[in-house]
């Protein structure tokens, strides 16, 4: 029997982690995502599944604990909000460089700096263009509901292990704090040590046995020719991800003359804006990227052939709009509309922006 509950987005991240057989969570409190660590420490999964939950001394320590656990071939995760995610960038690029799978959750708040504890989507660049140094990519999933907060924990781990690459859930303070009905995932047992060796034994530090060479988790390669070779390997992996893992949703696009492109909570606002616009006779649809890397470039290109103009709606000063423009490549007009610094646009504001910037403009 499926289990339904009314839960906050943050709480469901914790619940989904336990249910998907996560081995360890390492985190540090920060609003608006502290409920993740709070829920975990209240649930005490170590008594139930043996999952490790540890409050680290900092986000820097937490992401490096993730590195240590990931290098053991285990399912490990961390979560934070924008300022804490900035601190994690060093660890994230090391994880990408050592090709270690893990799950990172960012419940974004407004910035820059200490900013505000209110929701924002201003960490898009950091998430998809490489917040740390070097040529690397994260697999970035953008949930638009509490249900997707639940589902993307499992999906994030699945993709992370499939490609041996860190995965990021890019959420925001709205989705994290909002309560919705959610269908909980079935409980999966954690991998046994034997299963870890079977699945990840070719690279994980499980203890060097006589039958194999030593496994080393490292991102160091001092020989630049070999470092370039390794970078080629990474790029080939990202290309494969781009080819195989694009996920997006189209709403009211069949007869659309105009298009919203929006992810996460902005896409929820756009859904209401579609209803309001259509009452006025404006035929507008929504393309919602679910994966931000890989980005649904082709799907946007195809829509650009059909519509008269596109409005990218984000709670930022205009970040994802750059990728929309790259996809559209001048075919039709693309504008950005956003509120930021913790402000959330109303559906009416979005319709007005569509009228002013795209239809009249």
């Amino acid at each position: 029997m499926a289990e339904y509950k009314l839960m906050k987005g943050n709480e469901v991240i914790a619940e989904a982690a336990i249910r998907c057989g996560c081995d360890a969570y390492f985190g540090y409190p920060i609003t608006p995502q502290s409920e993740i660590l709070e829920t975990l420490t209240l649930r005490q999964p170590w008594l139930e599944t043996g999952m490790v939950v540890l409050q680290a001394e900092s986000e820097v320590a937490a992401i490096n604990m993730v590195y240590g656990g990931a290098a053991c071939g285990k399912k490990v995760m961390t979560s934070s909000s924008s300022p804490g995610i900035s601190l994690k960038q060093e660890g994230i690029t090391y994880l990408a460089g050592a090709e270690l799978p893990c799950l990172v959750v960012n419940v974004v708040r407004g910035g820059p700096g200490l900013g505000t504890i209110q929701p924002a989507q201003s960490d898009y660049f950091q998430s998809v263009k490489g917040g740390g140094h070097g040529d690397y990519k994260l697999i970035v999933l953008a949930p638009a509901s509490v249900q997707e907060m639940n589902d993307f924990v499992d999906l994030g781990f699945e993709l992370a292990f499939k490609y041996r690459n860190p995965a990021l859930i890019l959420s925001d303070g709205v989705i994290g704090q909002m309560m919705e009905k959610v269908k909980l995932s079935p409980v999966k047992p954690r991998w046994t040590n034997e299963e870890v060796i079977k699945l990840n034994g070719s690279w994980a530090t499980t203890g060097k046995t006589a039958d194999r060479p030593r496994n080393v988790a490292t991102s160091l390669e001092l020989d630049s020719a070999r470092q370039e070779q390794f970078n080629h390997k990474l790029q080939a992996k990202y290309k494969e991800i781009q080819e195989k893992e694009v996920r997006f949703e189209k709403i009211a696009c069949d007869d659309a003359e105009y298009l919203f492109v929006a992810y996460g909570s902005s896409s929820r606002i756009c859904q209401k804006a579609i209803d309001l616009a259509r009452e006025k006779g404006i035929k507008v649809g929504l393309l919602r990227p679910i994966t931000l890397f890989p980005y649904p470039t082709k799907a946007i290109q195809e829509m650009a052939e059909k519509v008269k103009g596109i409005l990218a709606v984000e709670m930022s000063a205009g970040q994802m709009v750059e990728d929309v423009r790259l996809a559209v490549n001048g075919k039709v007009k693309v504008e950005h509309f956003g509120r930021f610094g913790g402000m959330i646009p109303s559906p009416n504001e979005v319709v007005k922006a569509l009228e002013d910037l795209i239809i009249k403009g």
């Binding site: 680290a56 320590a61 490096n64 656990g69 290098a71 530090t205 203890g207 060097k208 080393v216 160091l220």
Partner: protein, 254 residues
Amino acid sequence: MSDIKDIIKDENLVYKKTKVLTDNVMHYCPGCSHGVVHKLVAEVIEEMGIQEKTIGISPVGCSVLAYNYLDIDWQEAAHGRAPALATAVNRLHPEKYVFTYQGDGDLASIGTAEIMHACNRGENIVVIFINNAIYGMTGGQMAPTTLEGMKTATSPYGRDIKLNGHPLIITELIAQLPGTSYVTRQAVHTPAAVRKCKKAIRKAFENIGQKKGTSFVEVVSTCNSGWKLSPVKSNEWMVENMFPVYKPGDLKDE
């Protein structure tokens, strides 16, 4: 003349390289303490029969490539973060022998928070701390442990306490933390010191088996390239100048 092969027989052997040490040529400068300490750790691992159960965490510093020399599974950490990695490995694999191997810049400067909190939590790990009072890898800059008046690439007129503060005697701070059970300061400048240091490393690893919490072995070390002294002179300089500040001996043994 007899062939060397006829001489190398088990009954004639007084010394054998441990098989935990690989045949890779070490990149360390002649006279550097890192190589000796690597050998001691490798010997302890072999003698305790824990090669399959040991996971090493290498730092950023001259020993970043330690994983080329000890034939065990390794994780290479970002600068200063080895104790955080070790924490996770220890929590996820309580049956394993986890150790970090860190320089003074790594442990006592950029990684101060990580080492303090790992020791304070009493992570069941060994910390090998190579204190050579300098940043070896990056070409001899000032370390937190650089002595007063000591010349380095970034203290060319000698470390000025007013400008740079005092040498950080971090091992004494570590010994204050209830999470640590064994805290000792060793050196490897004489055969006798090497034997003593090995005993300390062995005890530290044995403590893991007994779930005693964190064991911390500082090795006061030389960096003859960074110090711009010959290996022999470096040893003399270390005894004369380092030992009064970083006094060898056990700080804690519970």
